[in-house]
Symmetry: C2
Subunit: 291 residues, 2 copies
């Protein structure tokens, strides 16, 4: 089995913490060094057994690491890459868990002149509306997809290692090109988050006393669950995947205006056709999820 | 305790069936007669013990009933009211469980010349994406709100009876005027349903092979759960509450265009402010739900 002697986790949150737990549980890793902005959170990560020790300075944290996982918000990627550039061991594999990949590739190019061959951009399609190391658990990636987006000259051995370590955590790994990843995720994740945040914000302004929320039911709770996600993280994702998100939003707004027209015209036939198609597509999605 | 000797349920689905189960469980009802369009479903309701017997003709079903519950889709209300007008006992209380109230009041006015004093329009804020008597269960309304929208000359005794019977099922009953109900529900329920159906439909058309759904995660499942609701029922709701829904949709589309502009301008500060406000409002909503 794949074994990493020294793993460095920069950003010890839900995703990085859960992967670390899974790797340790499987015996796939020797020592785990954490690094982050908040010392209290790093201390908590040590107490929880997620990391063995920590450094507050990324340049120090990566010293001697065989693999570095970047689990910081997308807005922090470039700064971290710049900070570790000089002290990173030449053999070290780097990967990240960011929700957009084009921006991370651009950050790597900006810092290193090109994407380092041992840098494997990645994105686990998993998570909850919670964040932080307290919320981490080793089963988070079980039966979840992880998308890796290697570029033309990414070292195949590095890709194989990262893939194997995700598989250890129970994930199913697929490869995709950077642009396709960003387009698919804009549609299936970034757009829904913007819609949910937007709806709750619209309703909150509608009724300054927020009395309106008293009459919302369980369907609303589920629909808006993702609006309880970390606002700063999602700000970063929207900015990092701006182009693809704009395309998705425009497409959705066009379709929504067309639905508005159907309601205006009391076109029951068209409404039922749209709702029916959506229900069928969702049932298809649920069967995919359950496979 | 309130006791209804003979209850007639027109439309024996998730809502009517669950209320019947709760009333019977509490001993609040003598005989329950069901009525519906599909005989197989009525037979199933008898097997499940939800109803005692059934009639296929609404005019026959309401004969001798002390209370009639209309649990049919909104598009079917007027026809049912017309069908039972001649055979309904003068003392019988009527109530409905429709998701829009203005249309039901208009239907009653159209059929009876005015809203009958013993007709209490109602709406339980409960349900799941499932439908049909098979999905019914007696706890559905526990700790849920039920909104009654009596009009000026509704008989207070009839309101008190309907209120008591909902309380037997564990619900918290509030009264509201018809227009306010329809506005609040358009915002908190009808709009979210349209948005969820619309998103899944947009994505399904985006990628004809629906490959895109393979990369959607749990957040997407929750966000789109309501898009698995019954398309015909929701078509009816959109048509029945058309004016309030149009207002809500327009307001949302305006706000969404403003969010689009923020993404276009890479205005991270504004995005974070909107997301943060939404998260706070949703946390407030969740605390209300849990109270």
């Amino acid at each position: 089995m794949m074994h990493i002697e020294r793993l460095c986790l920069i950003g010890v949150g839900l995703i990085g913490g859960s992967w670390a737990r899974a790797l340790r549980d499987a015996g796939a890793v020797g020592e785990i060094i954490g690094c982050g902005r908040t010392e209290a959170s790093l201390q908590r990560a040590v107490e929880l057994g997620v990391i063995d020790r920590y450094e507050c300075d990324p340049a120090q944290a990566v010293l001697g690491a065989d693999m570095v996982v970047l689990g910081v918000p997308l807005g922090g990627m470039r700064g971290v890459l710049a900070a570790i550039r000089e002290t990173l061991a030449p053999h070290a594999i780097i990967t990240d868990v960011g929700s957009a990949k084009g921006s991370v590739v651009a950050d790597a190019e900006a810092v290193f002149g090109r994407v380092p061959p041992r840098f494997v951009p990645g994105h686990p399609i998993a998570g909850t509306e919670k964040s932080g190391v307290e919320a981490s658990f080793k089963e988070l990636f079980r039966h979840r997809r992880v998308i890796l987006t290697p570029v033309a000259d990414t070292d195949p051995d590095a890709v194989a290692t990262v893939r194997a370590l995700w598989e250890v955590a129970g994930a199913e790994v697929v490869a995709m090109d950077v642009e396709h990843h960003d387009e698919v995720l804009a549609a299936t994740s970034h757009l829904p988050h913007v819609l949910a945040y937007g709806l709750v914000d619209t309703l909150a302004h509608w009724d300054d006393n927020r009395e309106i929320f008293q009459y919302a039911a369980g369907g609303f709770r589920d629909f808006t669950r993702i609006a309880s996600s970390d606002p700063r993280m999602w700000r970063d994702i929207c900015l990092a995947n701006r182009e693809a998100l704009l395309t998705a939003m425009k497409r959705y707004i066009t379709d929504l205006n067309s639905l508005l027209e159907s309601v205006e015209q009391a076109d029951g036939e068209r409404l039922e056709a749209v709702f029916d198609n959506a229900k069928q597509a969702r049932d298809h999605f649920i069967s995919l999820l359950e496979q």
